[in-house]
């Protein structure tokens, strides 16, 4: 993957340009559907026929992942769950997993968070309570169980540091200095800290530098972490951005129904993804 310097955030034209920079085979860390997913970039990845992507759900995945899986872009998914929330099971994930068309590395939410937190601190692992006795452990030879060196007879599990190739998400605001505003979705900051590169689509560009504003700064991800940015109005649709637009429940339900069959999914792609100008919801 092209080296992206930490002192020169690149402003790109649009979601297509971000998707073009994401190499096939990359491990991409993505937020859940409720936490600023970069849907416009996901659709652009489908259009550019991305292949062999390895998705990391932080800590779970939804429609974004289901679209990529159904479109054949995904080789592996590491996640604590894939679900469409109230719209039910993620149909393309479910079928691909049942037929063995993708590899699934099952996790549990805090193991994912802890692995990313280890990476953001630059340490090799982070211990976590619980998990012992779960069959998840047998499927994850990278998770190690050790004796707590500070106590006796106290086994504890270690989450190895996770450094994804790319963190990919959407933000409400970016500014001219290359900072992005995540608000309370601080897990996105953790992903960006841990990832080798961070690609962000955004709703609005602000003049000035948000880090100079005391009220905005706590919700800002500094440009030191941001590799590339691109505008994407309604870029999370049909999912939501707090205080901008809410999740389009009817559309997600339409997707959930269509994607139950391969034919229905293909029709959905034709109508909503493969023709760029139709990709965005009317405001």
């Amino acid at each position: 993957m092209e080296a992206l310097p930490a002192n020169a955030t690149r402003f790109l034209a649009d979601a297509e340009a971000l998707a073009a920079l994401l190499p096939d085979g990359a491990q991409i860390a993505m937020p859940p559907d409720y936490s600023l997913p970069a849907m416009a970039v996901v659709r652009a990845l489908v259009r550019r026929r991305a292949r062999g992507l390895r998705l990391l759900g932080v800590p779970v995945l939804g429609m974004c992942a289901d679209l990529l899986i159904g479109a054949g872009c995904v080789a592996e998914v590491e996640t604590s769950a894939v679900s469409l929330g109230e719209a039910g099971l993620a149909p393309r994930f479910t079928e691909a997993a049942e037929k063995g068309e993708i590899a699934v590395r099952d996790a549990t939410c805090p193991m994912v968070h802890s692995g990313l937190q280890a990476a953001e601190k630059g340490v090799p692992f982070m211990p976590l309570r619980g998990v012992l006795g779960s069959d998840l452990v047998a499927g994850r030879p990278d998770w190690k169980v050790i004796q707590n060196p500070l106590a006796k007879d106290d086994p504890i599990i270690l989450a190895p540091a996770i450094s994804p190739d790319v963190a990919l998400f959407h933000a409400r605001w970016a500014d001219r200095a290359g900072n992005v505003w995540l608000g309370r979705r601080r897990e996105l900051a953790t992903i960006a800290h841990a990832a080798k590169a961070t690609f962000v689509s955004f709703e609005h560009l602000r003049e000035g530098d948000m880090l100079e504003d005391e009220l905005l700064a706590p919700g800002v991800l500094g440009s030191v972490y941001v590799s590339a940015l691109a505008p994407a109005a309604r870029g999370a649709w049909p999912l939501g951005v707090a205080d901008e637009y809410s999740i389009d429940d009817a559309h997600v339900m339409t997707y959930a129904k269509a994607a139950k069959t391969r034919e229905g999914f293909r029709d959905y792609l034709e109508q909503w993804v493969l023709t760029p100008e139709k990709s965005y919801s009317p405001a």
Partner: protein, 243 residues
């Protein structure tokens, strides 16, 4: 006795199970537990409810990891888990069963240990769900003595019955059977053995006071976060609920 929805009955049972807890966390796709919490709040109980998927103003400012950090610190009293399968030792399977893939374990493998009490909740009461032994343990019902564990199962509530968990015996005990079901039906539909007194009472129906609260302030609050559920149970739309 007036008529009520099954969801209303289940919410009232969960409210009783929550009892005097100080802090309840409600995870993904759990409208009935959320309804129970809203009912307790509407009754005037001082209860902190952390609704993970609250669409506006969710309780966390450190992202989704904050729930797990809170639980790790011992600040979550009650949590809820469901399962594609649940067995007689209170093991929970959220991954795969009978060749079918389910969404995944979510935070269960941690929360079952770290929350002080977990209420197992699954509306479907069948031998498909309540099995002798789960095919995959997402989260175990109990742990070896040397394994750190703050809490564990409290009860198992289904659409037909309520079971209490007996940690010393590592078995469920049938507490009550819901109106419309029978002990015989519960036995037929349960794939695991459980303890049972000579006479098992019927689950108490919602009181008129609770039904009034459920259909008023509770319904409006829940429909805002679970619009499909609000429409189904109370015929409320999301737009309705924002007023």
């Amino acid at each position: 006795m007036g008529s009520y929805a099954r969801e209303e009955l289940l919410a009232c049972v969960i409210a009783r199970l929550i009892g005097g807890a100080a802090h309840v966390a409600v995870g993904a796709a759990s409208p009935i537990p959320a309804t129970a919490c809203a009912l307790l709040a509407a009754r005037g109980q001082r209860l902190r409810v952390s609704l993970l998927h609250k669409r506006k103003g969710n309780p966390f400012s450190e992202g989704s990891r904050e729930l797990f950090d809170l639980a790790g610190q011992g600040r979550i009293d009650v949590f809820f888990l469901g399962g594609a399968q649940i067995d007689g030792e209170a093991n929970v399977n959220l991954v795969r069963a009978e060749g079918r893939r389910f969404p995944g374990s979510f935070g269960s493998a941690f929360m079952y240990f770290a929350a002080r009490r977990t209420i197992l909740f699954r509306e479907e009461h069948s031998r498909r769900v309540l099995v002798p032994k789960v095919e995959f343990v997402s989260a175990p019902g109990s742990s070896a003595p040397d394994v750190w564990r703050r809490g564990g199962p409290q009860a198992l509530l289904t659409g037909k019955a309520l079971f209490a968990w007996q940690p010393e015996r590592r078995r469920f005990r049938l507490e009550s059977v819901h109106p419309g079901s029978s002990l015989e039906e519960v036995r037929d539909c349960t794939g695991f053995d459980f303890d049972c007194a000579a006479s098992v009472p019927q689950t108490a129906a919602p009181t008129p006071e609770d039904l009034t609260l459920l259909r008023g302030p509770v319904a409006r609050e829940i429909a805002a976060n679970y619009p499909a559920f609000g429409r189904r149970v109370w015929e409320l739309g999301a737009s309705h609920s924002k007023s």
